[in-house]
């Protein structure tokens, strides 16, 4: 009987995944230069540290965007209560509570799907500005700095979420 010797399978010393062939210099899963030079390995660890910092930064931005959604939920609910106390209109209260609930749901959903939750949150916020402007055009200019800040926080959160796995 022919004795077949199976070639030894190489695993990446960094991520422990299988390396496609013995001729491969880099691991095709994590990019570690398994058969590379010392300089290449040093460069890999340097890039890894930068990437780690970038991920921390991205997570911070997502957290800020999530907090923005929580704040929006609170502001909309309070505004609804104030409007109800002035106009005694249950519909205005209902709309504000519904909006608040949506922002809250999106804030919690952003723990699982940050990119999509923040994107929907941003679009919802833009729509709120647009609808308010239809009834009262001057609201477009009112609190413009706050609006830019909110859009900025949500926008940064979205693009940061796109750079890390959703």
């Amino acid at each position: 009987m022919e004795n077949l010797i199976e070639p030894k399978k190489l695993t990446c010393s960094h991520c422990k995944n299988l390396i496609e062939s013995s001729e491969a210099i880099f691991c095709n899963h994590c990019g570690f230069p398994e058969n590379g030079t010392k300089e290449q390995k040093g460069k890999f660890y340097g890039q890894l540290a930068i990437k780690k910092n970038r991920n921390i930064d991205a997570k911070d931005k997502i957290k800020s965007a999530r907090n923005t959604l929580f704040i929006l939920a609170g502001i909309v609910a309070i505004f609804g209560l104030l409007a109800y106390s002035t106009h005694q209109d249950i519909l205005i209260l209902g709309i504000n509570f519904l909006l608040s609930l949506i922002y809250l749901t999106l804030a919690f959903w952003s723990e699982k799907k940050p990119m999509m939750a923040l994107l929907i949150g941003l679009l919802l916020y833009i729509t709120t500005i647009a609808i308010t402007a239809i009834f009262e055009p001057t609201t477009l200019i009112k609190g413009v700095i706050w609006k830019i800040l909110i859009v900025g926080y949500l926008g940064k959160g979205i693009y940061s979420a796109s750079s890390i796995k959703d």
């Binding site: 990019g31 230069p33 949506i102 929907i120 239809i134 693009y159």
Partner: protein, 250 residues
């Protein structure tokens, strides 16, 4: 399985490779850039839609909702949708293939709008009874003063939205969202954005579930036809109910 080529050194790589095994070039970095580009396209599409809607509401208020302004704005909306869709026409064109003979699905596509349209009418009545501040939601009322009002309303409420809203949301937008998320998330996001552009926030309660149904049919059968049929029948029934209500009140 060799499916991709490293752009840096030209080596053929396994489809699942995230790095080139020969030069260490990161393959997945391109998909990150692609993701950002897709997000930008979604935001731009939505912002253009919102600007268009605000402009149309303002201008039509000033022009007292004439038939000419109605036609002009409908034409602009169609143009916007077609221009965006043009950038994705290869994928969108696949969605216009006539689905195979699926009797159950066709039956459902005819039955679902009956349930959805009567539910919507019920919710609108309920909301209207809650408050006096709500502007009339009767869709026919905007067209009532025109000659051949029902025929015009039929085109603007039942026919055109079924064709072009489906192309915009279940076609262009769905294809973009699918690139950055799972099918399930795409259906939810498309339905939500579709409900948002219908403006009054309370309409989210009935348009969002309707959007979920349309999105499910789009995902399951990879065609816009079921969505167009459901959307058309739904809008037509709502229009006929509003037409009946309007004449009863008159």
């Amino acid at each position: 399985m060799i499916d991709i080529t490293c752009k840096n050194c030209g080596k053929n790589l396994d489809v699942n490779s995230r790095f080139c095994s020969s030069c260490g070039n990161q393959i997945s970095k391109n998909s990150e850039i692609g993701k950002e580009l897709t997000i930008s396209k979604i935001i731009w599409f939505y912002v253009v839609m919102i600007i268009f809607l605000i402009t149309s509401v303002f201008t039509q208020e000033k022009l007292d909702y004439s038939i000419y302004s109605e036609i002009t704005f409908e034409f602009i909306f169609i143009l916007i949708v077609l221009l965006f869709s043009l950038s994705n026409y290869k994928e969108i064109i696949q969605l216009y293939r006539i689905p195979k003979k699926r009797y159950i699905q066709y039956t459902l596509a005819f039955l679902i709008p009956f349930v959805s349209s009567f539910s919507v009418s019920f919710f609108i009545d309920l909301v209207e009874n809650l408050s006096d501040s709500l502007i009339s939601t009767n869709m026919y009322a905007d067209y009532a003063s025109y000659k051949y009002s029902l025929s015009i309303a039929f085109v603007f409420i039942a026919v055109l939205p079924a064709i072009f809203e489906e192309l915009a949301f279940r076609g262009y937008l769905y294809n973009l969202l699918k690139k950055i998320s799972s099918e399930k998330t795409t259906i939810i996001a498309t339905a939500f954005i579709f409900a948002l552009v219908h403006f009054p926030f309370l309409s989210l309660i009935w348009i969002f579930p309707f959007g979920l149904i349309l999105g499910y049919f789009r995902m399951k059968y990879k065609t816009l036809w079921f969505g167009m049929i459901i959307h058309f029948i739904h809008n037509l029934i709502v229009l006929l109910i509003d037409f009946y209500d309007y004449n009863q009140l008159s």
